[in-house]
Structure formats: C-alpha cells, structure tokens
C-alpha cells in the first residue's frame, strides 16, 4: 500500500510508507515530524524532503558527496551519543539546498546536514572546520571543468 501526499508543489505523489523518515525533533524551524524522500527522476541530483503532514512543506536536498568529494561530518561526542548514531559512514547524509534562478547561486548548508539512519532523521550541527552554511554547489565542479578545459587547450 502506498501513501499519498497531496503536495502543493507537485500535486498528488505516491510514496512507499516504508520510506517515510521520522524526525523525532523535526527540522529546525518546522513542526513536521515525518518526511518522505521524494525523487522526481531516477538518479536525480536533488531529492525533495517532503513533509507527510504538511502539503506545503518540501525542501530540496542533495547528497553532499556528489558535489563536495571531501565532505565530512564531525559530530560533538554528546550529540552522537544523544542520537545513538553509528559511525557516520554507515548512514545516509543529505544537505538542504538553497535554490536560485542561476545555478551559480545555488548553495548547500554543509553546517547542518541531515543524517538518516534506520528510518530516523536528525538535523545535526557539523563541527568540521570547513562546513559553511552556504557553500556554492557548483564552485568545485566549475573549478574542475575549468581545469579540464585548461588541460585540453
């Protein structure tokens, strides 16, 4: 049996109830506690963390390792303990994306990633030194493309 979300953004969407993620403390600033990870196309760069409870609420997210090859999440020991999280390599990590009309203005919040483990989600504070709130998403890729163009020239 699937679960239907009457999404303001996407219209009616069907999600697998098993894919619903419980956020025991929600996401900072929102009251929703249950979200589904919605992909609009296969192997999409961006997924939508869509509230199951609020048809208006959906946030674009991405796996930061798609864009930032060296991205790491460091948790304060008490936060790891509080969440009962295993080693983070064994979990799914997403970051929220601030979209814009221009790709070069897209940013990702590397400071407060969303860690999903065993059906539970938590937005955590990353203690790593290189974890800006607004990291340009296409900065690193743009640099690589420029390097490749230089080598080809």
């Amino acid at each position: 049996m699937s679960l239907t979300i009457e999404s303001t953004r996407f219209g009616q969407i069907e999600v697998d109830p098993a894919s619903v993620v419980e956020f025991p403390h929600g996401m900072i600033g929102f009251e929703s506690r249950r979200f589904a990870l919605v992909a609009r196309e296969p192997d999409a760069d961006f997924l939508w963390l869509h509230s199951v409870e609020d048809p208006d609420l959906a946030l674009p997210v991405t796996d930061p390792r798609r864009f930032f090859s060296t991205y790491e999440v460091e948790l304060a020991e008490e936060e790891r303990e509080r969440l009962g999280l295993p080693q983070l390599t064994a979990t799914d990590i997403y970051v929220t994306v601030r979209a814009s009309d221009q790709l070069e203005d897209f940013t990702a919040n590397l400071r407060a990633p969303i860690v999903i483990s065993e059906g539970r989600g938590h937005q955590v504070i990353n203690q790593a030194a290189e974890a800006p709130l607004r990291a340009p998403l296409f900065g690193e890729l743009a640099e690589k493309a420029a390097d490749a163009a230089d080598r080809a020239a």
Binding site: P24, G29, F46, T96, R98, A99, D101, N109, A112, R134
Partner: protein, 74 residues
C-alpha cells in the same frame, strides 16, 4: 522576559528535568553547564537561527532548473 541574578556555582531549574549551572564568569564570558534529558537538542542560538533561516529559504525555492551534464562522481 524573566531575569534572574545568579553567581558562579548557582543554578536555575526549568521544569522538572533541566538544570542550568553558572560554571564560571570571566570578563564578557559566562560558562554554563546544562543538565537536560539526553534526547533534548541544545543549540547555541546564533547557529539555531542561521539554520532555521537556511531551512526556510530552502523550503521556499522555486523550480529547480535542469543541471548541466557533469562527470559521474568517482
């Protein structure tokens, strides 16, 4: 806002299970010790506010334009 004067070593209690202790006062800096249920998230306010702002901005995004093709990740 409730305003309470405390000295180092003194505490305030919020409800039945949250205790905030003034550990040390030094110039412009106050060190606080917080005893709260493990499940309760505790944030420095400026981080909390900044993340809230980013979350809200993310949720108000318009359509996401198609991405340029790029090499598969290694």
């Amino acid at each position: 806002m409730l305003i309470i004067t405390r000295r180092p070593g003194e505490k305030i209690v919020l409800g039945d299970d949250i205790t905030v202790t003034v550990m040390e006062v030094s110039g412009q800096t106050v060190r606080l010790g917080i005893d709260a249920p493990k499940s309760l998230p505790i944030y420095r306010e400026e981080i909390w506010a900044a993340v809230k702002q980013e979350n809200e901005a993310a949720a108000t995004a318009g359509e996401i334009p198609p991405l340029p093709r790029r090499p598969k990740r290694a």
